[in-house]
């Protein structure tokens, strides 16, 4: 009883001890804030890293393939059993992406994923990171008529942008052709034809991207599908989709290129439209039709720039609705580069720079066809990778090991990894960082512990006479000790409680605090362009708060043990004599 009263009274009257506990408060607050931010960071990063990585992945080596995916998938399903949530087959291949920017080809290296739009979204967090809001709800590889709000300057209609783009391309082509004709004529000492000057004047009269042939089909449609299942996909032949051809098709006077010396320039010659390649199907009209849809990582298109006010803006070099070309290696021993025209239908933005600048997605069937992964005899479609999503809570490594046993690498040669394996270097680096931070910060609290020890020693010295009195009145040494232990405990709890309150307050409002600091110092505290996140992520785990609090209180109590023992051992007569 007296222990409680006395430790309570000491708590209320000895402010120097409270001062010593402030270091515990600060230590606890720092630990909570740092841990919250770090685990928020790790959590966000994990979910982003996990984004298009499935839980477990079985992949054939580069340019290899899993030839009988149906059978293989059945076997995988059998092995994984009840832990399986969803499963999808994808084709993953390195590819070259070429887009035209200001008439110059801009080529970037990408990893092209052929995905099944039905099942891929079930296995990975793909659709939440799409930029088009309509696609986020209902995924497809079709160009949308809306939802591209942030990506387009004029409205959010992808098809409108496509029409603008096609018309502008045509206009540029016409312009070039006009100049070409002019130059050729000059070169050949021949007066330019009426038509070409007419074309030139038409260009001059109509600068507004209007095609002079709004109703005419192009003479040489670039894409005619030899297969049947998709309207406008290429047949995999690089010849047909060569950019030169396309440009020629869109040109006003294509024949001029083919027959430069001839004066018979007849851009509207109906016969030129009936070349043998163009045959059975309706002709491809880029104003109304799209090529195979492709979704690009946003960083393949987005660049930073400055506007007139010298503030940072995002510039998109490729926009939805525009066409790009991809070049992929075909499978097999004699890999060849095959090309395909694609229409950009959306961007993927996970804010993970590695992913956003690396990945492009197109329909699985198109990519299979393009790379020659369809068996000409059986029609069996090979894939390169099986992605597996497991039920929540299932141990990924355990399933991976099961799969490794079922498909030994010696025989199959497939890589079987969990997404954590794939990202292990980054994750373990972050975990290591977190551990060391925690260690260092706990040392702060340990330092505070020594502060408490010193303060308590002083208090025991100050209270020597009182200890003598208590002992003279019959208080046992253990009782005297417990006064100081409970004093230490209550100080620790006060300090820790204040620290928790402070830490949580700080952690919950960290972004506002960052703003205030930014405003005060004029320097950016958190630069979203460096990190993966637009604001500082925070994840407060009750268990973390609890263990930090427990640790801090334990340190406060431990620090009071030595002084308390000294108090317990004081000789009453000497203590009473002490002045």
């Amino acid at each position: 009883m007296y222990k409680l009263i006395l430790s309570w009274r000491y708590l209320r009257t000895r402010f120097i001890a409270l001062a010593s506990i402030i270091s515990v408060t600060l230590g606890v607050a720092t630990l909570i804030v740092v841990n919250s931010v770090m685990s928020g960071f790790v959590d966000q990063m994990k979910s982003r890293l996990h984004g298009i990585l499935s839980d477990v992945e079985i992949s054939a080596p580069l340019l290899g393939q899993i030839s009988h995916p149906e059978l293989f998938v059945e076997e995988v399903k059998r092995v994984v059993g009840g832990d399986l949530e969803a499963l999808t087959a994808v084709v993953r291949t390195p590819a070259m992406l070429t887009a035209k920017f200001h008439d110059r080809p801009m080529t970037q290296q990408v990893i092209l994923m052929g995905i099944d739009d039905e099942t891929f979204g079930r296995v990975t967090d793909f659709s939440p990171y799409l930029q088009n809001e309509l696609k986020r709800q209902r995924f497809s590889f079709e160009l949308e008529t809306g939802g591209y709000k942030d990506l387009l300057e004029n409205g959010d209609d992808g098809w409108a942008n496509r029409r603008r783009w096609v018309e502008f391309e045509r206009f540029k082509e016409r312009l070039n052709r006009g100049y070409d004709d002019l130059f050729e004529a000059v070169e050949n000492q021949v007066e330019p034809s009426l038509e070409s000057t007419g074309a030139q004047s038409a260009v001059a009269d109509q600068p507004k991207f209007l095609s002079p042939l709004p109703d005419q089909p192009p003479q040489l449609p670039p894409m005619i599908d030899d297969e049947t299942d998709r309207q406008f996909a290429g047949d995999g032949s690089p010849r047909d989709i060569a950019p030169k051809d396309q440009i020629a098709d869109l040109a006003i006077s294509s024949t001029a290129t083919q027959f430069p010396a001839s004066l018979e320039i007849s851009p509207f010659d109906p016969h030129s439209a009936s070349r043998p390649q163009i045959s059975r199907d309706e002709m491809f009209d880029p104003l109304k039709q799209q090529h195979t849809g492709i979704i690009l990582g946003v960083m393949l298109s987005k660049r930073k720039s400055f506007d007139a006010d010298n503030s940072l803006i995002d510039v998109y070099m490729i926009r939805p609705g525009e066409d790009v070309q991809i070049m992929v290696p075909s499978v097999g021993a004699h890999a060849q580069a095959v090309m395909e025209n694609c229409t950009v239908v959306d961007f993927y933005s996970s804010n993970m720079h590695e992913y956003d600048s690396m990945f492009a997605f197109m329909p699985l069937s198109q990519l299979q066809k393009l790379r020659g992964m369809v068996d000409p005899l059986t029609g069996m479609r090979a894939v390169s990778t099986i992605q597996i999503k497991l039920k929540p809570g299932v141990d990924l490594s355990e399933v991976r090991d099961r799969l490794l046993h079922a498909f030994p690498v010696e025989y199959y040669g497939y890589d079987i990894n969990t997404w954590l394996d794939t990202q292990a270097p980054l994750l373990s680096a972050v975990q290591m960082e977190l551990k060391i931070l925690n260690l260092l910060l706990f040392m702060i609290i340990a330092v505070a512990g020594f502060g408490i020890l010193a303060t308590f020693y002083m208090i025991v010295v100050e209270k020597t006479k009182d200890i003598g009195i208590l002992k003279a009145l019959g208080a046992p040494g253990s009782g005297v000790m417990s006064i100081f232990l409970s004093y230490g405990l209550s100080l620790g709890m006060v300090g820790t409680g204040a620290g928790i309150a402070m830490g949580l307050l700080f952690a919950y409002n960290i972004n506002q605090i960052a703003d205030v600091v930014e405003w005060m110092t004029g320097r950016e505290v958190f630069d979203p362009s460096i990190y993966y996140f637009s604001e500082i992520p925070v994840l407060i785990s009750p268990w973390m708060v609890f263990s930090v609090a427990l640790g801090a209180v334990a340190i406060a109590v431990l620090a009071s043990v030595l002084p308390a023992m000294r108090a317990a051992r004081l000789h009453p007569v000497e203590a009473l004599r002490y002045e």
């Binding site: 009883m1 009257t13 009195i469 019959g474 040494g477 009782g479």
Partner: protein, 306 residues
């Protein structure tokens, strides 16, 4: 334990006193007592002591107590505490300073004994030994026929808490507590939280009565630094009495008080002796004060002077 002694408090104390349950017998072990003394001599003394303890033995008459002029009040006088051949010395670095060199003493139940002596004569040390605050180097201390100087620390603590009341020259109140709480402290020490809370109103009642008795009924919630010296000492007296002790040990209770307050305190002590049959042992260097006691023990050079 002398059960036949007609002291009203004893039966109540028998149950709780650690001395009553103590296995300490009349025969001391050679290991714990008087190493320097030859065994036969020690035993002889011991037997003497034991035989004479209930009455006023030859030891007391022989050495310790010089009878005061005033006759004892009690009819049947029994010794409540006795010491024999008490030695105590302090070590300062390598130098051993003997303080007590063979003190024999017997204190009667209900008596007022004053221990006087020069500064450094060992009177405070003797009182500390009696109060079991310190352990003698040699010799034995008996409280109600039970040896107490070799008890475990725990039992000594309980003895101090329940049987002895103590008053000091510098009052020794706890500065963080109010008058009332200071008085209640021994009860708080004695009982655990639950036990204290169950009877707290009774304890508080008792404390209030005691404070009323010493004339501090109006100063209950003052801290010691708001009290005068006399008030503090009276608070200390109330604290010493809260556990209804059988022995009050006072170490120069008036030493730090002016004569007016000193007289007040002495009056209170005498009153207690008379009304509550409290045995009082008071250490003082003031011979005038000592004159008012029943017995005077004069310590000279660590021994009781004739």
């Amino acid at each position: 334990m002398s059960k036949g002694i007609p002291v009203p408090r004893i039966s109540a104390l028998n149950n709780t006193s650690p001395a009553s349950s103590s296995p300490v017998s009349g025969v001391p072990s050679a290991a714990t007592t008087g190493q320097e003394l030859p065994r036969h001599k020690r035993l002889a003394k011991r037997q003497n002591q034991k035989k004479d303890a209930p009455s006023k033995g030859p030891l007391g008459a022989q050495h310790a107590i010089s009878q005061n002029a005033r006759p004892p009040l009690s009819i049947a006088r029994t010794s409540i505490m006795s010491v024999s051949n008490l030695h105590k010395s302090y070590r300062k670095s390598k130098l051993e300073v003997p303080v007590l060199r063979g003190v024999d003493l017997s204190i009667d139940e209900g008596s007022f004994t004053a221990i006087i002596g020069q500064s450094g004569s060992g009177k405070s040390t003797l009182l500390h030994l009696l109060a079991t605050l310190d352990a003698p180097d040699q010799g034995e201390i008996y409280f109600r026929d039970q040896r107490i100087d070799n008890l475990t620390a725990r039992k000594k603590d309980r003895l101090r808490n329940q049987q002895f009341g103590m008053i000091f020259q510098f009052y020794h109140l706890l500065p963080e507590l109010t008058t009332l709480e200071n008085v209640l402290i021994p009860q708080m020490i004695r009982h655990n939280i639950l036990g204290y809370f169950r009877n707290r109103s009774a304890y508080k009642q008792r404390a209030l009565e005691l404070l009323e008795m010493v004339g501090l009924g109006h100063r209950l919630n003052h801290k010691p630094n708001q009290l005068s010296g006399g008030e503090m000492q009276r608070t200390a007296i109330a604290r010493a009495l809260i556990a209804k002790p059988s022995l009050l040990l006072a170490d120069e209770p008036t030493g730090n008080l002016d004569s007016e307050n000193g007289r007040e305190v002495m009056k209170t002590l005498h009153q207690l002796r008379d009304t509550e049959n409290l045995t009082i042992v008071m250490v003082t260097h003031d011979t005038q004060l000592a004159e008012t006691a029943d017995h005077i023990v004069d310590l000279v050079n660590g021994q009781v002077a004739g």
